[in-house]
């Protein structure tokens, strides 16, 4: 008998079931279809301005830096300022994201690279699918628009987050993912990012920038 059959038989023997019982199958199907919500903490809830404020507070708590701009057109200048202030080269990479592509980067003098991250990239830019106020978490989705490598290879990761996309909780994000990609479907990768990379494995000291970005800068567009 195959390993698979053996394992399923053993589970069913232990649970005293056959696996074909209609009521059991219905309970499982209902849960997978209706995706009941559990307890949603009050912390992230509130009107949009409250959610933006909570998101910002929580993201800063985990060592991300956050700025707000009132118009998308202001994003390139903010990105250029951030790189300049940190003495980084005036160069950044992003993917095929239409929102980012429409921004007036030509006014900034930044050199722009496109596509997936390269090993020696210093700074990359992503457009977040959303944010979660509860924990200051960015939600990034894979694909040509915002390749996953941008989130992990560079030393500096800058993320543009539209205020309207800041949800109070993870559950609201999942509803949006289902609406965008289809019920039960996901992009190849969904990355929750809560602050820059860190480790406490060396002498129990918390250090930033273990393997992923040392710095995470979030630009919230409030228009």
């Amino acid at each position: 008998m195959s390993a698979r059959d053996d394992i399923f038989n053993e589970i069913r023997r232990a649970l005293h079931v056959k696996g074909t019982e209609a009521p059991r199958r219905r309970i499982v199907q209902d849960r997978l279809t209706n995706t009941p919500k559990g307890i949603v903490p009050a912390r992230g809830q509130g009107e949009l301005t409250e959610r933006v404020a909570t998101f910002r507070e929580e993201a800063e708590r985990v060592s991300a830096s956050v700025t707000e701009v009132t118009a998308a057109a202001d994003v390139p200048a903010e990105v250029a300022r951030y790189l300049r202030d940190r003495n980084l080269p005036a160069r950044i990479r992003f993917g095929d994201d239409a929102y980012l592509a429409a921004l007036p980067f030509s006014t900034t003098g930044l050199d722009i690279d496109r596509g997936r991250a390269a090993a020696n990239d210093q700074a990359c830019l992503s457009h977040a699918f959303g944010g979660v106020a509860e924990t200051g978490t960015l939600v990034l989705t894979s694909g040509a628009d915002n390749p996953t490598t941008l989130n992990f290879l560079p030393d500096t990761h800058v993320v543009v987050l539209e205020a309207k996309d800041i949800a109070g909780d993870y559950e609201t994000v999942w509803d949006r993912v289902r609406n965008t990609y289809g019920q039960g479907l996901m992009p190849r990768a969904v990355n929750f990012v809560t602050g820059p990379s860190r480790s406490a494995d060396i002498g129990h000291t918390l250090l930033l920038g273990a393997h992923g970005p040392r710095t995470l800068h979030i630009v919230i567009v409030t228009e």
Partner: protein, 499 residues
């Protein structure tokens, strides 16, 4: 398996641990850091306790329908272009991984942190077939350099001090100038980052564990802080996920409940830095991500735990809170437990996985203070299950004959309440009189096994039952009785032998 288990020699391992000054220095962090951080995170979230209930209920529900959720999960993975493999044993799991590696002519394999990989001894198996496994989690990388097992399920190198790690780096990174300055932890981090970055880019296959599998979408989830798991699974052409049958949860909403208690219980973070949801291989048009996505689901005795006294153990989400709060773990660290899973969760799980005959001391390496259960995010009754193992040891005559005789002697009285009361009423004042000087006994006849390593407290004059009867009387009309002292988590004599 990873190295043969030394769990049977727990006492000897523990003695060595006591005498290791570096280890004792490092364990300070477990006692102070982890414990305080969890308490602070729990205090900051008013819903924390009800989320623990919710997490427990979700795991309990999933286990009751485990066959159907695993079926649903497999179907979704397949639909997303991934391949699910099933392994009854560590040998089968290793064979599956090896076949994939050999099919791709793999020379090096990068690895995210995976306890299943430790459980099946994957690294040794790969090395034996001339495939170099490279651990990329910093803690795992450090212990790989030292040829050690993890001493903690979420902080594998927690037993090491910065100076030890510096010495390991100097010994192993001998291509770098010996005069370089590694005085600051940041210098060590930068060095490991640079070395491992090359490995990420050169690897043929990336292997990660999975914190959860989601049936709704066929998704595997890893939870990390470093980003190593993501580089492992994004940069290589093939991603292999190692998981076990109890990792499945129904939906994304369900896993969100559990994620809210996982990091808080583990490191005291509200959420770990990277929570990554992976579903299948690279899609058409994707510029990055693996071209092949495999999931190996291991049983290794777990299915036969379902529905037994140890079934609740399958709720475990591997946060490490039980060991962080365990006075025994805090005193001796993880290596004393002698196998992959240390602490209270290991004391319950290890006997299930490798046999109680090979791990007999583990369920006894406990003060039964209950701290583990009180912090477990999914409320696993760990002390109760350790007691079940002790019963089985006794039934299977794996304990010493004098211990069984002593228990039988006590059992004779315990089953006869009248006789028990009479005997204790006579014995207690006598013992109290003998112990009146010190308030404790440094040795007792026939009980050297107990008193060799701890004192036996002298009774205070009357029995518990007599005191209980006395306290209840005035409580009806008079003021409430004085609060009993808070039980202390300590390795000294506890009330284990009392009814």
């Amino acid at each position: 398996m990873t190295a043969s288990p030394t769990s049977a020699q727990f006492a000897r391992n523990a003695h060595q641990a006591f005498e290791d000054p570096q280890l004792q220095k490092a364990l300070h962090f477990v006692r102070e850091g982890f414990v305080n951080q969890r308490a602070a995170a729990a205090a900051r979230l008013p819903e924390f306790e009800s989320l623990r209930d919710s997490a427990r209920d979700i795991k309990e529900h999933t286990l009751a329908y485990l066959d159907l959720y695993l079926e649903a999960y497999e179907k979704k993975v397949t639909a997303a272009g991934g391949i699910v493999h099933w392994a009854r044993t560590p040998e089968e799991a290793n064979k599956i991984v090896l076949d994939i590696c050999q099919r791709h002519g793999a020379k090096t394999v990068t690895k995210g942190k995976s306890m299943i990989a430790e459980e099946i001894g994957l690294n040794d198996m790969l090395a034996a077939h001339s495939i170099a496994p490279v651990e990329t989690d910093l803690g795992e990388y450090i212990i790989q350099l030292r040829h050690e097992m993890p001493s903690h399920i979420i902080a594998p190198a927690v037993h090491l001090t910065k100076d030890q790690i510096e010495a390991d780096f100097r010994r192993n990174h001998d291509q770098l100038p010996p005069t370089r300055d590694l005085g600051e932890p940041t210098a060590l981090l930068a060095e490991a980052r640079a070395i491992l970055r090359e490995k990420f880019l050169a690897a043929d296959i990336g292997i990660t564990g999975a914190n959860f599998l989601v049936a709704e979408t066929g998704t595997s989830i890893i939870v990390t802080n470093e980003g190593n798991g993501d580089l492992t699974q994004t940069l290589t052409p093939v991603h292999i996920v190692l998981a076990s049958i109890e990792k499945v949860v129904p939906t994304l909403d369900d896993v969100s409940q559990i994620l809210r208690v996982l990091a808080r219980s583990a490191t005291g973070q509200d959420l770990s830095v990277y929570t990554t949801f992976s579903t299948g291989p690279r899609r058409p048009g994707d510029p990055d991500g693996p071209q092949e996505y495999h999931v190996v689901i291991l049983d290794n005795g777990r299915s036969s735990m379902l529905g037994t006294d140890f079934g609740d153990m399958l709720r475990c989400i591997r946060c490490g809170a039980c060991m962080n709060h365990c006075p025994v773990y805090q005193a001796v660290g993880g290596h004393a437990y002698g196998w992959v899973y240390p602490g209270p969760m290991g004391a319950v799980l290890t006997p299930s996985l490798i046999g109680i005959d090979k791990s007999a001391p583990l369920p006894n390496a406990s003060t039964f203070c209950g701290a583990c259960e009180s912090v477990c995010p999914v409320r696993i009754p760990l002390p109760k299950m350790m007691r079940h193992w002790r019963e089985r040891q006794n039934d299977r005559k794996l304990t010493s004959s004098s211990q069984r005789a002593g228990l039988a002697f006590w059992g004779y009285f315990a089953k006869r309440p009248g006789l028990y009361r009479l005997a204790t009423r006579i014995a207690m004042p006598l013992l109290a009189w003998f112990g009146r000087g010190e308030g404790r006994f440094e040795s007792l006849p026939l009980a050297h096994g107990w008193t060799d390593s701890r004192d036996f407290p002298a009774p205070q004059g009357t029995t518990f039952q007599a005191q209980w009867a006395n306290r209840r009387k005035p409580a009806i009309f008079g003021p409430p009785p004085a609060k009993p002292p808070t039980p202390q988590a300590s390795t000294s004599a506890n009330s284990e032998v009392q009814p």
